[in-house]
């Protein structure tokens, strides 16, 4: 099993794994929207030992995590969100989901300065709830009534990413030897800077290139086109 970053060319087989495993499905453009907005966050598990069947064989996807950053966080705090995650039944008990999640979480912090990651899970999905709660340390925030199209409730779960943030801060300090003291200080400041505010938005002195997100971009209608009600 190979755990690696998602590539656009993986998408047809990610879509295949999704519709094979889960009742919440998406058309290809929604996957593209993730892959082209936050390419650092989505990972796949590939059956790398499978012999190639032809010159045009695509790596078989046996698990994936499709993740994003919340574009307009209601609480104003930068955070990631798991749109979909699944592992083929034939490849369970290998810890694949956990590995996928950990890679994604690391990138959420490194690349986008995420403070926490959230997700929704069916209240009846014991296996997944166990993974999120016991293995990964998620906590249930609240229950969202009738979140799923079939009327089932969802648990809103959340995991603080402070441990990863701490880890990165330490690594940054370690990587800069004493001779480059100024840089090291700068690096750790950058991290704490993100800590205090959400992103670079409150730095008036420096040049700011604001990236408009979400709505009105042609792909905008894809935002939150999830399996939630309506």
């Amino acid at each position: 099993m190979d755990i690696r970053l998602l590539r656009p060319s993986d998408i047809p087989l990610i879509q295949h794994a999704n519709i094979e495993n889960l009742p919440e499905n998406y058309f290809l453009k929604y996957y593209l929207y993730h892959a082209l907005s936050w390419p650092q966050l989505s990972y796949v598990a590939v059956d790398a030992s499978r012999p190639k069947k032809s010159a045009y064989d695509y790596p078989k996807i046996v698990g994936y995590v499709l993740a994003k950053m919340e574009e307009e966080p209601a609480d104003g705090v930068q955070h990631g969100h798991i749109t979909s995650i699944s592992v083929m039944r034939t490849h369970r008990k290998l810890g694949i989901a956990e590995k996928l999640m950990r890679q994604s979480q690391l990138a959420m912090v490194e690349t986008f300065g995420a403070h926490y990651v959230s997700l929704h899970v069916r209240v009846s999905n014991q296996a997944a709830i166990h993974l999120y709660r016991e293995t990964l340390g998620f906590q249930t925030e609240k229950t969202e009534q009738k979140y799923y199209a079939d009327g089932e409730d969802a648990f809103c779960m959340k995991l603080e990413l402070s441990a990863i943030r701490e880890q990165i801060r330490e690594a940054a300090a370690r990587d800069e030897p004493a001779g480059e003291g100024i840089d090291a200080k700068k690096a750790s400041e950058e991290v704490s800077d993100v800590d205090g505010k959400s992103g670079a938005k409150e730095e008036p002195a420096k040049k700011e290139v604001k990236v408009k997100v979400g709505r009105g971009l042609g792909v905008g209608e894809l935002v939150e086109r999830v399996a939630s009600k309506n």
């Binding site: 519709i19 593209l32 990138a107 670079a200 040049k207």
Partner: protein, 740 residues
């Protein structure tokens, strides 16, 4: 020239535009009518009216009105612009580009026309045109970084790496204050530039740029991976090894990192001990890592393999990991490993069964039985009687186990017992009705047993209930390729060519949608700033139809069209009778089925019309529902009757054959069916080309010589009257294939 309007009507005209933009089509039309009442030949208003009608789904009327407007006023940029939009929304991008170019000539300052044109150009891969457009756009608004990046992308895709890099550098020089480290767009732009430098082949410069300019880029993984790769390419092995070790710390389940690390460490591929030591180090460090434990099984031999395999198998079977066999079966290519692995599993099983008392051992026993069941069901080590026995024992041990039951069904399938297989898989499904995976498998096995209706009902247990049109519509919306293809194949086996063709065409249409899906991202990605991901998407889209999802359905379709051409069916144009009657559906039954299908289609149409008529167009909800219905084009041939009634099956086959040959030239099957189509169409040179490609891809394919003989026989009598060039090409080509 735009015709003048009175100020009142000029105001109205602006209202029309606003209404169109706000999607208030009814009001827009009303306002347009008011203008046209006084100025019946006001071309711009006519065009706007056409645009609104197009948005309402009245495509044909919209086109004829827009054309009429153009004949009245050829010099109006609005008329040309609307004409371009009409083509664009109807996916005729080539014609749209032409119209936009006229519009732009008349109104060179229009940024909107220029932007729309640019997007069409890149969608159609008109790189030169795109460079030109982006150059103009940059000159108009040089203060936007996006415009610089876009021009660089244009040069990059055109193949002009130097210019692409120059553009990015020029922009960098205009920035006076250092961007924030958290400036995401900047971070990505730097990495994009780095990828361009690397593409020029100047790895040393790419590394230098990476270690200076890109050092603090936010995509840490990319920086680390690129650095390791550049160091390797430059032969700086010690540093490269360090870089790969850092990557393994991050993700010890990435196969390539081990491979690269052992390479830069200078460990030879046959140095089992040296290689083993590296993997052992990471296996010890990461107890939950699978790769470090499993990968050594690939290169170890003899006793070393035996003990490593034993340790791995014991660990996995104790845990009861169901994918153990799937993860090891590739080792069967080595004949000694093919013997050792099942022996180890037997040994494990015997030991566990002895220690029956241990409560924990039942998991291990089940896993070992399951492993052996899969072993004997696998094509390289098949003994279906033994497989049946092991799986039966596993089921006896744990009657509710879905995986065991699933394998039982698979064994039936290998025995050719499709009905039993279908029933067994459905039994497995019934043990875990909340799991979609097993549900999908049950549907697949039903399809293999030609139970289309049952399979759809099974799928319907998980599709969205509120989708208009039921489970099938949902599966089409969600682009469920495997189902559509298998459904088509089952219909084809049943002799229902209409439905089979219907499904294959649906698959092809989904690929059209996938190609169009990139359209919005040409502008979206510029705003998001994720340029490397965008480039990677563009390159993937260029090869989109090489995907096995496409080639499988396309091959099915071409073969079906060939069969239809061989045995033309009656005038009713249904269910090409294959004459063999082996599937038990005789002609009368088919006729009846067709009649019924026709009736049902008519009924559905009637009902849809009534439903639409009942809706109050002024109610918001109804309007929305209606729009949704409009965008979901009505299918006037739901059962593929018209597809099956074609008078030109070979011509229709080209829709599938052309992309097959273009994107999967190494696929022998594609060349073989291509030959058949071209032979029947008497396009001998094209047939020869397929023949030569097939021979190049697999010279041992028996069909190649047979086809070559047929081509020679077919062309022999024509050689005398043939154009000498053609004759020579045929003769030398055939000699090359047959001379082998």
């Amino acid at each position: 020239m735009p015709q003048p309007l009175s100020s009142r009507e000029a105001n109205l005209f602006r209202t029309v535009i606003r209404n169109y933009e706000d999607k208030q089509y009814k009001r827009g039309l009303k306002a347009a009518e008011q203008i046209l009442k006084k100025n019946p030949r006001h071309a711009d208003t006519m065009s706007m009216k056409a645009l609104i009608m197009n948005a309402q789904g009245k495509t044909e009327e919209a086109f004829s009105l827009a054309k009429e407007a153009l004949t009245i006023d050829m010099k109006s940029h609005i008329c040309w612009h609307v004409y371009g939009i009409l083509y664009r929304t109807n996916k005729n991008f080539d014609e749209a580009i032409k119209a936009y170019k006229f519009a732009l000539k008349l109104e060179p300052e229009s940024q909107q026309i220029q932007r729309d044109l640019a997007i069409l150009q890149i969608q159609m891969r008109d790189y030169q045109g795109y460079v030109q457009s982006r150059d103009v756009m940059l000159k108009a608004r040089p203060h936007l970084r996006q415009n610089w990046t876009a021009l660089a992308i244009a040069y990059h895709l055109e193949g002009n790496l130097q210019q692409a890099e120059n553009i990015l550098t020029t922009y960098e020089k205009t920035v006076t204050s250092a961007p924030l480290k958290t400036d995401f767009e900047n971070s990505e732009a730097i990495l994009y530039k780095n990828s361009i430098i690397a593409e020029t082949g100047d790895t040393a410069r790419a590394l230098e740029h990476l270690e200076t300019d890109a050092k603090n880029c936010l995509d840490r993984l990319a920086v680390m991976e690129l650095r390791a790769q550049y160091l390797t390419q430059l032969g700086r092995k010690d540093e490269a090894a360090k870089a790969y070790r850092a990557l393994l710390e991050r993700n010890p389940d990435r196969q390539d990192y081990y491979k690269s690390l052992t390479e830069v460490l200078g460990i030879r591929g046959d140095d089992e001990q040296g290689l083993g030591a590296v993997y052992a180090e990471y296996a010890a460090k990461f107890p939950r890592c699978d790769a470090a434990r499993r990968l050594p099984l690939d290169f170890l031999t003899g006793d070393a393999f035996w003990s490593a395999a034993k340790a791995y198998l014991t660990f996995m079977l104790d845990k009861g990991v169901p994918s153990t066999f799937a993860n090891l079966k590739h080792l069967y290519a080595d004949s000694s490993k093919k013997v050792i692995l099942p022996a180890l599993a037997e040994e494990y099983l015997a030991a566990k069964e002895k220690a029956e008392a241990n409560a924990d051992s039942s998991k291990g026993v089940g896993a070992a039985l399951y492993f052996l069941g899969q072993h004997y069901s696998y094509h390289m080590s098949r003994d279906l009687a033994k497989a049946t026995e092991f799986v039966a024992r596993a089921i006896e041990l744990d009657p509710k186990n879905v995986d065991f039951r699933m394998t039982k069904a698979r064994i039936f399938k290998h025995q050719g017992e499709l009905e039993k297989a279908s029933l067994a898989m459905d039994e497995a499904r019934s043990l875990d009705v909340k799991d979609r995976y097993i549900n999908s498998k049950a549907a697949k096995y039903q399809l293999r047993n030609n139970e289309n209706e049952k399979a759809l009902a099974t799928m319907g247990l998980f599709t969205r209930a509120e989708t208009v049109g039921g489970p099938l519509a949902d599966l089409m919306d969600m682009q469920c390729m495997w189902f559509l293809t298998e459904d088509g194949e089952a219909y084809q086996r049943r002799g229902n060519y209409g439905m089979a063709l219907k499904r294959y065409h649906t698959v092809a249409n989904i690929f059209d949608i996938w190609q169009e899906d990139q359209f919005d991202f040409h502008s979206f990605s510029l705003r998001k700033g994720q340029i490397r991901a965008y480039i990677s998407m563009v390159r993937w889209e260029d090869q989109l139809r090489e995907h096995p999802f496409f080639s499988r359905a396309a091959l099915d379709a071409v073969k079906l069209y060939l069969a239809m051409d061989d045995k033309p069916h009656g005038t009713n144009g249904v269910n090409g009778a294959d004459g063999k009657g082996e599937n038990g559906e005789d002609a009368a039954e088919r006729k009846k089925a067709v009649k019924k299908a026709k009736k049902e289609a008519q009924k559905a149409e009637r009902e849809a019309a009534e439903k639409a008529a009942k809706q109050d167009p002024n109610k918001a909800g109804a309007q929305k529902a209606k729009e949704a219905e409009d965008t979901k084009k009505k299918d006037d041939d739901p059962n593929g009757l018209r597809l099956a009634a074609t008078q030109d099956p070979l011509g229709d086959a080209m829709k599938f054959l052309n992309p097959l040959l273009q994107f999967s030239p190494l696929n022998v099957e594609a060349q073989v069916v291509g030959f058949e189509v071209f032979m029947r169409r008497k396009k001998y040179l094209l047939a020869l080309r397929c023949l030569r490609s097939a021979a190049a891809a697999n010279k041992d394919d028996a069909r190649v010589q047979e086809q070559a003989k047929r081509l020679r026989e077919a062309t022999q009598p024509l050689l005398g009257s043939m154009n000498p060039k053609l004759k020579k090409a045929l003769e030398t080509g055939l000699a090359a294939v047959m001379g082998r």
